[in-house]
Symmetry: C2
Subunit: 439 residues, 2 copies
């Protein structure tokens, strides 16, 4: 019995794919079918795409001094208090007393208590409802595995690509419509200046799941108390679950809610506990993008339509598909929530927010309409009538500054670019100088 | 519009589930359907179940001095060379020069090169085919997300529960048959003394995917050159993909292959590159069960039936659902593969294998038939005609030793218990003393 398809057919496929893959594959085909969900997925994840453009630019201009305000990656050192705690944990692993093997799948209880105490005081969230993770992006996928293919979802447009991409991977989405760049079966909730960057819920059909990121990546908009309250009531009326991503909550400056669970119930105390899950992260809060630590809150009161508690299934997913975050990262997380650690981190966040102000002022003085940057480390700049990929390319070519084309976050991101406020101050100032000279 | 089902129905469900969940849930049901794949999943993941038995035993016997030879968790300190390298990386994160944010999703290139060089020399595996992960269990799930619901799978019986459980989660399995404890649509490949603990391939129907763990957890059997060669030829003839789990390869003592890619092609060089994926881990090799680091190899030559390269989809999954392993753990991984680090780790492995020998000799001298323990840190003890949960309970009750009932690894594990060789020497010797007194 031979293995797979005849060579001729293989060559056809190689021809079809070689432009993406840049190598000619030699090998026999197995008889294993490709996952049709992955076949649907738009080729090229946004950030690797940006990196590719960056590399091509550097190849053409080897002496270019790039300023990277594209992928939202933290740049400032982690405060000493925190790395000292991690180093102590690490070195302890070389001693009989300090050695630790597997931890609890759901995370170290001291850390879970500290998270509940620091971020959810008086909101009715208990430590056993907190799942420590290796980051928000990973937990978005684990939540999608939890939910499965048979739920309907709504997503902000524009939004961080992981919600939709993971939705396609688990089979919730229909076909990709090339013209609009939208998938079937997904409800895109438009968020632009015309609706204060928050979905107009009167136009949104019911879905099982509503993903909401606040402060939003990429628009930088933090939902107000009134907006989140409306959303919680909307979810309750529809029997939906909100998946609230609060990865940038530490950047909120104007008193907007930092957690969905801060929303008081409309008719009873704790309504949000019955309609929401919250995903969050140490990445942007503590510069842990490379250390990898986050958490997810699943309230005990949140039930499926059959009355079964969602928390019980999520615990099962975490035990089956994950084995806990690194114990070193968890020791760091605990130090982040100590009085000294937290204080030091707030100063780093202030630094990035000062960067954000410089960027907002800079683009504004150039005559562009700027959103975001007040409650989030992202600036969302509007270039009316222009293609965002063209603007991205033009800025890169003329100023050697990497941004992100808004189109990469969805159709509603067209005409925008996202500029990240993460960076050394001197680079932010230099970026503004270059933009002043060239735009 | 009201949220969810009427209260009466909720109460019925609460009644049904409260015995598992130990709390009465108060809350309204959403209208979100529970994932039917999770509904199929057998309640209770094995290792939390063992912990529950352990806790109950301690409640009844608060003064019991437990010896834990159950969950296979490493106990020996990590060599200094390795934790010093991690501590240096950690402390560097507090400096401008040493700070690192997001790394490459697929892992640090220096580590990927070191893995290719140390474990895959002369096997045709390149660094770009290595995906650094946060552990083998996590990558099993990501591979299942890659494969999707539309593939057929075969699994060793007995086997580590994560293969089957993740298979159920992504929807590959049929219903659970309570009597046999087996799921529909999954091919169980019996592995016992009658077939030298390796599947009799002449009786196994074709499947898309064949999971094979060698050295096997729980039986401790390392597949021979001849056995793995047969499997590679079987996969080629059937157009199947082997997912080979080599998490315990470092424990092989008798010259059996440590990688599926060591198998030379039957008709051409590198046949295994066209039919296999390999999952592996630093957990048991380097005591990294809590640090979290592993890797997966997906050869470029491995193609789906339509000619599309599997590696390209796996890269997409890793970029979408994962954000790389902790950079601290990766620095540790690199130190593990340095000359000094590797040398020190081999001594730790020798220590565990000396434990294994003591356990094999101990159970043998008690008159029981013992398998494993020669190429793996697990001893697989046969108690003919007895229920493995009863043996487990009896040993716990009489000797305060925690083992794992073989039944937890599948129907073919009935009559067996798994004993882990991870532990302090004095505990292993004390375990044998207790067994001698009581059995």
């Amino acid at each position: 019995m031979g293995g797979g398809e005849p060579p001729q057919q293989i060559l056809l496929h190689i021809h079809k794919y070689k432009y993406e893959f840049h190598v000619i594959i030699v090998g026999h085909c197995t008889k294993v079918p490709r996952n049709s969900n992955l076949e649907k997925l738009r080729s090229g994840y946004l950030f690797p795409e940006i990196s590719r453009h960056e590399s091509e630019h550097l190849q053409k201009n080897p002496d270019a001094s790039l300023i990277r305000l594209g992928i939202g990656d933290t740049t400032q050192p982690i405060p000493d208090t925190i790395t000292l705690a991690m180093a102590e944990q690490v070195r302890g692993l070389s001693t009989i007393q300090g050695y630790r093997g597997y931890g609890a799948e759901q995370g170290n209880m001291a850390l879970r208590k500290a998270i509940a105490g620091k971020f959810y005081q008086d909101m009715g969230i208990k430590a056993n409802e907190i799942f420590v993770s290796d980051g928000a992006q990973c937990d978005i996928s684990r939540l999608q595995m939890l939910l499965g293919s048979n739920v309907t979802v709504a997503v902000q447009d524009p939004s961080f690509p992981a919600y939709i991409d993971s939705s396609v991977v688990v089979g919730q989405a229909g076909e990709l419509e090339e013209k609009t760049g939208k998938y079937g079966n997904i409800i895109y909730m438009n968020c632009g200046p015309e609706n204060d960057f928050f979905p107009d819920l009167s136009t949104i059909p019911r879905t099982d799941i509503i993903f909401l990121c606040s402060p939003n990546n990429p628009t930088g908009h933090a939902a107000s108390w009134q907006q989140l309250k409306q959303l919680v009531e909307f979810a309750e009326a529809n029997g939906s679950i909100i998946v609230h991503d609060s990865a940038y909550a530490a950047y909120i400056r104007d008193g907007s809610p930092r957690s969905i669970f801060a929303i008081p119930g409309a008719k009873e105390v704790g309504l949000s506990l019955q309609v929401a899950i919250e995903i969050s992260s140490f990445s942007k809060f503590a510069g842990f993008t490379g250390v990898r630590l986050g958490w997810t809150v699943v309230p005990e009161e949140l039930l499926y339509s059959n009355g079964f508690p969602v928390i019980k299934d999520f615990n099962r997913i975490v035990c089956t598909c994950f084995n806990g975050a690194s114990n070193i990262a968890q020791a760091g997380g605990l130090a982040c929530l100590s009085t000294d650690g937290y204080h030091d981190l707030c100063k780093v966040i202030d630094y990035y927010m000062e960067n954000a102000k410089i960027l907002v002022d800079g683009f504004t003085s150039l005559g562009w309409k700027v959103y975001g940057g007040k409650n989030a480390p992202y600036i969302w700049v509007h270039f009316p009538g222009m293609s965002s990929w063209n603007v991205f390319a033009e800025i890169l070519k003329k100023t050697n500054i990497v941004t992100v084309p808004g189109r990469g976050f969805g159709a509603a991101g067209e005409e925008y670019i996202r500029v990240s406020a993460f960076g050394q101050r001197q680079n932010i100032l230099e970026a503004i100088r270059r933009l002043n000279s060239f735009l």
